[in-house]
């Protein structure tokens, strides 16, 4: 039934278009014009449309910035994240200024210089001075952007991690697991060949450093304490994305990657600011298969005391090994 309807509608649409073309051809014939010749009145209509619809687009842009501002990510909840936000603000301002100068120019020129029979275009093939100006100005501005960007990048990537807590984030289709290093802050060795039903991360239990490691299904962090996340994947490339902290790093099978940062706001604080439903979430951000869209793990930032109480409850791998025996 629907396909018959679709067929009928299609036929009607085509018929309508044929009529539009025919009518415009007949009208042009009456006026002794070539139907497809662009006339002065066409130039007028189209240039006005460019002005109106073009500015309509700019209004649409401004409307989006206002209406959807609340939907954007809240301020960064990490030290380096705040620097990234500042750089973002700087770049965004620059982009918007350029955008709101050049785009209206395009539409206004289209309107102002619409073709008229009485007009002649101005023969203006080049002007070295002008061209030099608009080569040099972007170059200077970009130098600033590049220097500022590289400075922020270096600060982010070369953070002082000497006191950071080591946590391994292990990924597979389609889930995350965390492994905390023990008090020695050393993670035990692991090997993908050891992965099986009882040893999901392939931890090498002959390594003494492994015994005090703790495996958890969510990650707790201490506010204002640096942490170094080390990422592993056992199958596909995943990407660990923690948008609220401005943290992202691919998890690559055969490689260990890492990202260090310092959270600055507890989950409780964020709940106060952003609403009761707020949670820090780790998402997968690299296409990894059917359930890519639902690969997540909760992160909780809390005070030292809360963290100590939680971590004490988690069993070490050594303890688990004993109970298994």
């Amino acid at each position: 039934m629907t396909s018959i309807l679709v067929a009928i509608v299609t036929l009607l649409v085509v018929a309508a278009m044929v009529q539009i073309v025919r009518v415009s051809e007949l009208l042009a014939e009456l006026k002794k014009e070539d139907v497809n010749e662009v006339t002065e009145s066409d130039n007028k209509t189209q240039s006005i449309l460019y002005l109106v619809i073009g500015f309509g687009f700019l209004v649409f842009v401004v409307w989006q910035m206002i209406a959807w501002n609340d939907l954007l990510l809240p301020e960064a909840a990490s030290i380096h994240g705040a620097k990234i936000d500042a750089l973002m603000q700087f770049t965004m301002t620059l982009i918007l200024v350029v955008f709101f100068i050049t785009t209206p120019m395009l539409f206004i020129f289209s309107y102002l210089y619409r073709g008229k029979k009485s007009n002649n275009a101005y023969f203006f093939a080049h002007n070295n001075k002008l061209e030099l100006i608009w080569t040099i100005i972007p170059t200077i501005v970009l130098t600033g952007v590049i220097i500022y960007g590289l400075k922020t990048w270096n600060e982010t990537m070369n953070m002082d991690l000497s006191s950071a807590k080591y946590i391994e984030i292990h990924s597979k289709q389609f889930g995350w697991t965390a492994r905390y290093s023990g008090e020695d802050n050393k993670l035990g060795k692991s090997d993908f060949r050891l992965i099986d039903a009882t040893n999901a991360l392939g931890v090498d239990m002959t390594d003494n450093n492994s015994l005090d490691d703790k495996i958890t299904r969510e990650v707790h962090l201490v506010v204002d304490k640096p942490v170094l996340l080390q990422f592993r994947s056992q199958d596909i490339i995943h990407s660990a994305f923690l948008p609220h902290f401005r943290v992202q790093m691919n998890c690559v099978p055969g490689l260990i990657t890492q990202f260090g940062f310092t959270p600055t706001k507890t989950t409780a604080q964020m709940k106060q600011e952003e609403g009761e439903d707020f949670e820090y979430i780790l998402l997968c951000n690299k296409i990894c298969g059917s359930a890519h869209y639902n690969m997540q793990m909760k992160f909780i930032v809390e005070t030292q005391a809360e963290y100590d109480a939680w971590i004490a409850q988690q069993k070490t791998l050594g303890q688990k090994l004993l109970t298994q025996r």
Binding site: N43, V98, L106, S110, R114, A121, T135, P138, W153
Partner: protein
Amino acid sequence: MGHHKETFITKYIFSLDHKMIAKQFLLTGMFMALVGMLMSAIFRVQLANPGESSILYNLLPSNWVNEAGGLNPDKYLALVTMHGTILVFWVLTAGLSGTFANFLIPLQIGARDMASGFMNMLSYWFFAIATVVLMSSIWVETGPASAGWTIYPPLSALPQAIPGSGTGMTLWLIAITLFVVGSLLGGLNYIVTVLNLRTKGMSMKRLPLTVWALLITAILGVLSFPVLLSCGLLLIFDRSFGTSFYLSDIVINGEILHNVGGSPILFQHLFWFLGHPEVYIILLPALGIVSEVISVNSRKPIFGYKAMVGALLGIAFLSFIVWGHHMFMTGMNPFLGSVFTFTTLLIAIPSAIKVFNYLATLWRGNIRFTPAMLFAIAAVSTFITGGLTGLILGDSALDINVHDTYFVVGHFHIVMGLSAIYGMLAGVYHWFPKMYGKMMNKNLGYIHFWTTFICAYGVFFPMHFLGLAGLPRRYYSNTAFPMFDGLSDINDIITFFALAGAIFQVIFIFNFIYSIFKGTKTTKNPWGSNTLEWDTPIERIHGNWPGELPTVHRWAYDYSNPNSDEDFIPQTVPLKEGEEEH
């Protein structure tokens, strides 16, 4: 030129004439564009109504849809992958370069045909076979390739990881191999033709910007496509012959794979060494067309011709040393990240020059608003809008939080997708009279342009906000995360515009077909253009010029030159006494 009789087969199918081959590329490209667009309409419906059934899903093979009538998640990824592959390679590489390089290069340089008509024919037929192979993969039991158009291994290497990485992926790799062969045959031909077959007087300094852009594009293709080919070959080895170029340390479905020592990151380096020049293989021909159309219809010389050529060369050179900006988050050395940030942001300089030169060309022009001109101005608009957000993505520090989000999707669809599609449509409207001897209907062209312009920005601009809200791309749905619940309105708006925009393309298809058969007859030079293609007769003849080849006396942009009463001086008109050439 031999005057042997043309049969239907030699004229329309195995044609050696560059003009016919161009039309073959155009029609195949347009068909693939419709397929790709339909796929995007289907996955946009899924994103607006996650998991629900839709009448559009009836178009899909039945095993793509679950019992409740919803789209299967892995088939959502199949649609996204095929959409990307088709649009990037089939439409905006072969459809755009294949059409206009073939059509314009011999005509605008004053040559009778390509250097090798036979290679040119082969180039199309490799492309045609690649098209058949790619399309056939849709009906494979396990579905077509589903690892994203960038086919990163291990996902693309292991059928255990996603069903599409089975036979579908094999067919994808075969199709791309054929595609690369075709595009190399074409590209070499374009380069040789431009360098060797220019008519008397057509010095490089007098080449129209379209030819410059197509030449540089062909050079980019010849230098980068072989790398994609080798990248794909190594993947074929990993998939079928047990090698470990890209695979290491993998446990999947409880099975420990034997592969050690490979690196998935190596694949990305090879892939993006093609992949980034590819962006400009797509964009530069469009910018060439835009330069020509804007100049002709402003009735003014293109402003800063030398700077425009310089900017094209600059962009082309830089495009080879920026590929790492796709890989900031792969864990590569942060110092390398710094280098790629530096080179990437430099591209903004030649890009800015191009934009300012377009604006200066429009300034004090006498603008004639043909449908082609509307599209050309819109291409400048999208080049600005999309180019600016590149300053965020190319900056490694900022990329941390927008990498692989919808911000990227919005960015590249505007700067590369829309600019190139607009350039391509401008080209079709502008050269249609030369291709078919008929005019396309102007009023339908206007309606097509405005509906497309509105819908396209309606689709892609809101995506920036999804990205700034942290939404990753290639998600089947975002309902699994409460933090994205507020974004459903934006998704609805995008889907609305996507469906509307797709439907409005019917106007273009209709206009195209109707005008071929019933369009009004064109005059020899309907746009008052200087370039040589308008010096040829309206009827298609093999060899382009019935008599001798024309001689060129001036550059292509003498519009509204005060030395002449007319507002254009074709390139074949000799300089007046005492006239200086620009």
